[in-house]
Symmetry: C2
Subunit: 120 residues, 2 copies
DNA sequence: TCTACATATGAACATGTGCTCATGTGTTGG
DNA sequence: CCAACACATGAGCACATGTTCATATGTAGA
């Protein structure tokens, strides 16, 4: 993999950043199995309509989701399969077989952080 | 893919969030091809030593990177191959063949946003 | 057209986050 | 032990971001 240009790095980072917000990620996850209307998403995730719409706008502008009118409703779906792969990949990795530590990670921190756990 | 628990969603989001900052992403990208000492990273990315260390701490705590002492230096590498796959995946997708729009995306915004481009 | 519905948008606020500056901690060499 | 090097950490600040409240836009039905 050749080194990316500054612009490319920022583009990649932006997609990651948008997926890095729990509510936004839930919205994207909800859209993995096809298009869903806004009302559906609102009800299913328990978010306010306004907040959901704001997040949808960000995801739409970033070309992560795509909007389609259906009567007076609007349905959102993944704009491309890029994100589906990335998200599925991440989820698969994070959920599969590294249960040797609970979901709340213990201190770990490798060989460093020797100062932790004992006040000096 | 079964629905994830709230905690799992937040864990996934946290990894995305950490990768969603350009400098942090650059650090991770620099570590894709093996371990690198902090000084190397600092020089290579042109970031301040302090900032680099702060970012490294976050990446280490999140188990994205792993630290290893080498004399008085410290080398960082990917803690697992999860992230390598995800990042490589994303980079591959984002860099390959969808050049029909430049790196700075034009308005797009699908069928909506009809209010844009004309003051009312 | 008027009303109700479904979604989008703007303003404002609290909180989070990246960055720098200064300083602390740990390690090697003299 | 002491100085120099390599890295880590804490405080503080400017700025970004998530959320809510209020309101606008657009659509379908009577």
């Amino acid at each position: 993999m050749q080194p990316l240009s500054a612009g490319q790095v920022e583009d990649v980072a932006e997609v990651f950043r948008l997926l890095g917000e729990p509510n936004r990620l839930r919205i994207v996850l909800a859209c993995l199995d096809g298009a869903h209307e806004v009302g559906e998403i609102v009800e299913r995730l328990g978010l306010s309509q306004s907040l959901t719409s704001h997040h949808l706008r960000l995801l739409r502008t970033a070309r992560i989701l795509r909007a389609e009118r259906r009567g007076r409703h609007v349905a959102y779906a993944l704009d491309d399969d890029h994100v589906r792969d990335v998200v599925a990949n991440m989820v698969a990795h994070l959920t599969e077989a590294h249960d040797h530590h609970g979901h709340s990670h213990p201190p770990h921190d490798g060989d460093l952080d020797q100062s932790e756990g004992a006040e000096r």
